[in-house]
């Protein structure tokens, strides 16, 4: 039996690697996606254009402005001289933030009254707005504390001492790039497996295969194992790129990572085979894969946290293999976790894999004829 399966695997790999279209699927989209996601998909802010409307003209206000512009996050795009300029600048998206310092700023500071500083931010991209406000607040707080210290005022009773564990500089590339491992492994495996049966059906070789003494189990294995191999290689290449190109720390156990990837790829193969056994043409298979992929990525926690979703949808994401592999990949990379940390994820992935493979086998038998 293994000899026969081996022949099927060799045939499948040759067919995938020699067909220029399949080769394109394996190489071009992953490369483009790795670059685009790796560099473009970031929530980190830098070079945020701001405008300053300083009506105080004092040493203190200038110092505050300098603190804003001293960060790598804010750059001054405009200086405002009257209040009428504020809204047009924001509206035209010339600046994302206007720092408006009241003329009473220094006077209030010195008289221990809350000195007003207005932060006007463009809310059209609400996430950016929140992060800008966060940065602005912490700059102002830091300034306030130094002011208190310098002017011998009584210190605030408590201070926040914030540390981010696992990702101290809060670099979102560390979050996104490990996620790409999961996304691209899914895309490639799904396409390779999903299209393989449809390709044979179109070429007429599938009938040829069915009249040979291969059993159905052998054919399924012969379709699935190449996917496992290709998915595994694809994942390994991106892991290498993540570590050596993007410099994401890999802190946990490779065993835990690969165990997760193995179960994940198995689940994706099951889904790919299901699509494959339902589709008659490659185009249908492509469309089916696309219809599965979009929601599975959007609802995986890849870019937007699952914890933010409504409870019902959170429950639904349990059947999404991407959700679990993302937890495992990020856990291993950043949190340094080992096998024991991921028992629920492994179980969920194994269950999905078992169910989807069984369903694929059943559909396969139904559709073969």
């Amino acid at each position: 039996m293994w000899r026969a399966v081996l022949a099927l695997i060799v045939k499948e790999l040759l067919a995938v690697l020699k067909d220029p279209r399949s080769r394109m699927v394996l190489i071009v989209p992953p490369l483009i996606q790795l670059i685009v996601f790796g560099y473009a998909a970031t929530f980190d802010l830098n070079r945020v254009p701001i405008a300053v409307y300083n009506r105080d003209h004092s040493q203190a206000s200038r110092e505050l402005v300098a603190r804003f512009l001293g960060t790598r996050i804010f750059t001054q795009a405009a200086v405002i001289h009257n209040a009428g300029q504020i809204n047009p600048l924001i509206d035209a998206r010339k600046v994302d933030l206007v720092l408006s310092i009241d003329p009473r700023f220094t006077r209030d500071l010195l008289t221990h009254r809350p000195a007003p500083v207005q932060l006007i931010v463009d809310g059209r991209d609400s996430n950016t707005a929140l992060i800008i406000l966060g940065y602005a607040n912490s700059i102002i707080t830091e300034f306030s504390l130094r002011w208190l210290q310098r002017h011998g005022a009584p210190p605030a009773p408590a201070l926040l001492d914030i540390r981010a564990r696992y990702n101290p500089t809060l670099n979102s590339q560390w979050f996104i790039v490990p996620g790409i491992i999961a996304v691209l492994t899914q895309v490639v495996t799904l396409l390779v497996v999903g299209l393989s049966v449809a390709r044979e059906r179109e070429a007429g070789t599938f009938d040829q295969l069915l009249v040979t003494p291969f059993t159905q189990g052998e054919i399924l294995l012969g379709k699935g194992l190449p996917g496992l191999l290709i998915g595994g290689i694809e994942a390994s290449v991106i892991i290498l790129a993540a570590v050596f190109w993007f410099g994401v720390p890999l802190r946990g156990s490779l065993l835990a990572l690969y165990l997760g990837l193995f179960l994940f790829v198995a689940a994706v193969i099951g889904i790919g085979l299901m699509i494959s056994s339902l589709a008659v043409t490659q185009q249908q298979a492509l469309l089916g894969a696309f219809l599965f992929m979009v929601p599975s990525i959007v609802l995986s926690g890849f870019a937007t946290p699952i914890a933010n979703m409504p409870p019902l949808i959170q429950e639904l994401t349990w059947v999404n293999p991407m959700r679990h592999i993302l937890i495992i990949v990020r856990g291993v990379f950043l949190e340094g976790s080992g096998v024991r940390a991921f028992v629920p994820e492994y179980l969920a992935l194994a269950a999905t894999a078992a169910l989807s493979l069984l369903a694929a086998g059943w559909l396969f038998r139904k559709r073969v004829y």
Binding site: L14, K18, D19, G204, T205, Q208, P213
Partner: protein, 603 residues
């Protein structure tokens, strides 16, 4: 200009060349074709697949850029004035582009509008077309649900919504049943007569040449001959004979005759053998003997195909396929593989029990009955044919026999098994060659052979021996590392057969095994199949080629899912022999059967 007198050709080609691909690695599709098509007549563009027919028609229709040479349609230069030329011609591509999700009426109306047929004119024109093509009852049916013949008739009707002066038809009769084929031809003849239309029609069926007034014979991009068909066929006048002998199997007789010096071609025709002798060779004498038996030799009128084969074999064309053309050895004798053949069935069982047995076999798809209670039996060593048009149910029957499709009811046995339920190992006893010679197109010849050897569980050294055998026997050695996608069709066919024979099956299933290949490749193919049958292999073959049916020992003629008749080719033909048809062809027999089957329904 269209009404110009006879001598002005409707179409003239001068030194037309065409190449595909990059200049570095170009495939020549057409080389220096110079020809004319006379106005008001049917010209046939004839040649096997890959001869360059479609390329030539597309060039005439202005759909490909003319690379060199000159094409004039009704006096208009196609390269310089494509729109003027196009306005006067009608073009029906191969697999006419019908919108399958549109109904017959919607397709027709689309073309009427696109061709600016005025609504008033369309009323008359539309009903005329409906009448002519017999599509009237199916106006509301989706085009995708029509039979092959009706699709082609609809395609033709769409091309004729406005009568062109020059009509280009690309293989309109492929996959069409003989009745529809005759109807299509009579529509064409009718148009030529009534509308004084000029028609250029391409076909790979050589027997259709005789329906044309002029024939352009293409082979591998070259114009081999441009004459009247009768004149062309006359080249072998006095060289065509029908030979029969008592007590010798037709296959043995054919194999013997083919080896004789001076015999260019020997093909099986029912129970006798048709031979064509080389030019200048003495006619076979009445005293000739084969295997010690007396032969009866009758001179027969030459056919178009005789001359074509004679032309190809006498080396008139540059590149005939490099296959061993003389059957000098029994090609598939077991010793070649140095491997034991699968254990033959016990002799007693083989005599008594048919190898393939179908009883009341039925297959339904929803309401549609694709195969309707058909029964037949095939004996060991027999070549059994399922003859019918596309959609007659032969592929469905074939797929059920191979175990690819479950039967809705009825029973079937192949070597004693129902392949649907039997263990996988039972499938090791059958060989299968799919329509269109489906192979892994991205794999090389050797990789395909290796894969199928493993698929049939051959182990080294047997595996290696069989692969070496296949490469040598099928003359594939020089192409062993070529990607099979890029092989010419004839090579693909040989590779497909080689893959099906690696494990020396006792039963061979062949689905449309020679469609599209040239006559030499077809002869070569049947030579091998005959040898296999002689060695005791049971062969089941589906075909829509009436000619090919002659090779079968017995046939089941299928139409609309039913078996119309079963019998050997001669007895089927004998049924329609009459005073006016002393020598009926297989096609005559087929059409008579179809008409007889439709009578009771019509009544």
């Amino acid at each position: 200009m269209a009404s110009a007198p006879e001598p002005l050709p409707a179409l003239s080609l001068e030194n037309v060349c065409h190449r595909f691909g990059s200049p570095a690695r170009a495939d020549t599709a057409l080389a220096n074709v110079t020809a004319i098509a006379p106005a008001g007549a049917v010209s046939g563009l004839i040649g096997p697949d890959g001869a360059g027919k479609t390329t030539l028609l597309r060039l005439v229709a202005g759909l490909l850029r003319l690379q060199s040479g000159r094409i004039e349609v009704l006096g208009e230069d196609v390269a310089r004035n494509p729109d003027a030329a196009r306005a006067r011609l009608g073009y029906m591509p191969q697999r006419f582009g019908l919108y399958e999700d549109l109904t017959v009426r919607e397709n027709l109306e689309l073309y009427a509008k696109v061709q600016n047929v005025a609504p008033q004119a369309w009323m008359a024109r539309g009903s005329e077309l409906m009448h002519m093509t017999g599509l009237a009852p199916f106006l509301g049916r989706l085009a995708g649900r029509l039979s092959g013949g009706m699709k082609q008739k609809l395609g033709l009707a769409c091309t004729l919504v406005r009568i062109p002066q020059l009509l280009l038809l690309d293989e309109p009769t492929v996959g069409v049943d003989p009745v529809s084929r005759r109807e299509l031809w009579s529509i064409i003849d009718h148009l030529v007569r009534t509308e004084r239309l000029t028609v250029l029609v391409s076909t790979s069926y050589l027997d259709e040449a005789e329906r044309c007034q002029r024939v352009l014979l293409l082979h591998e991009g070259r114009l081999v001959s441009a004459t009247e068909p009768a004149e062309f066929a006359a080249q072998t006048r006095g060289r065509s004979f029908q030979v029969s002998a008592a007590d010798i199997g037709k296959r043995q007789l054919q194999a013997e005759l083919a080896q004789r010096p001076g015999v260019l071609d020997a093909t099986i025709q029912g129970s006798s053998v048709r031979i064509v002798t080389a030019a200048g060779a003495p006619p076979p004498s009445a005293s000739a003997r084969a295997s010690g038996r007396a032969l009866s030799i009758v001179a027969v009128p030459p056919r178009f195909e005789d001359s074509f084969v004679a032309l190809l074999k006498s080396g008139a064309t540059a590149a005939a396929p490099e296959v061993p053309t003389s059957g000098e050895r029994a090609p598939l004798a077991p010793e070649h593989g140095a491997a034991p053949a699968p254990a033959p069935l016990p002799a007693a069982a083989a005599e008594a029990e048919p190898v393939i047995l179908a009883t009341q076999l039925t297959r339904r798809f929803g309401d549609f009955i694709a195969v309707d209670a058909i029964s037949f039996a095939v004996q060991r060593g027999e070549i059994f044919g399922l003859l019918g048009a596309n959609g007659a149910g032969k592929s469905t029957t074939f797929r059920m026999l191979c175990g690819l499709l479950p039967a809705s009811s009825g029973t079937l046995r192949v070597a004693g098994y129902d392949l649907r339920r039997a263990a996988a190992s039972a499938r090791a006893r059958i060989g299968y060659m799919a329509q269109k010679f489906s192979l892994y197109a991205d794999l090389s010849v050797r990789e395909n052979l290796r894969f199928f050897a493993s698929a049939y569980r051959l182990r080294d050294p047997q595996r290696r021996a069989r692969i070496a055998w296949a490469l040598e026997e099928f003359a594939l050695g020089a192409h062993a590392d070529a990607v099979s996608r890029e092989l010419p069709l004839g090579f693909k066919q040989r590779l497909a057969l080689a893959c099906a024979l690696l494990h020396q099956p006792e039963i061979l299933f062949l689905d449309e095994p020679t469609s599209g290949v040239d006559p030499l490749a077809r002869r070569d193919f049947w030579r091998r199949i005959n040898a296999l049958a002689e060695a005791g292999v049971t062969v089941l073959v589906t075909t829509h080629f009436m000619e090919e049916a002659e090779y079968c020992d017995r046939l089941a003629v299928l139409a609309q899912g039913k078996v119309l008749a079963t019998g050997d080719p001669d007895s089927l033909k004998a049924r329609v022999r009459s005073a006016e048809h002393p020598q009926p062809t297989m096609e005559d027999a087929f059409i008579a059967l179809l008409e007889a089957a439709e009578q009771p329904q019509a009544a």
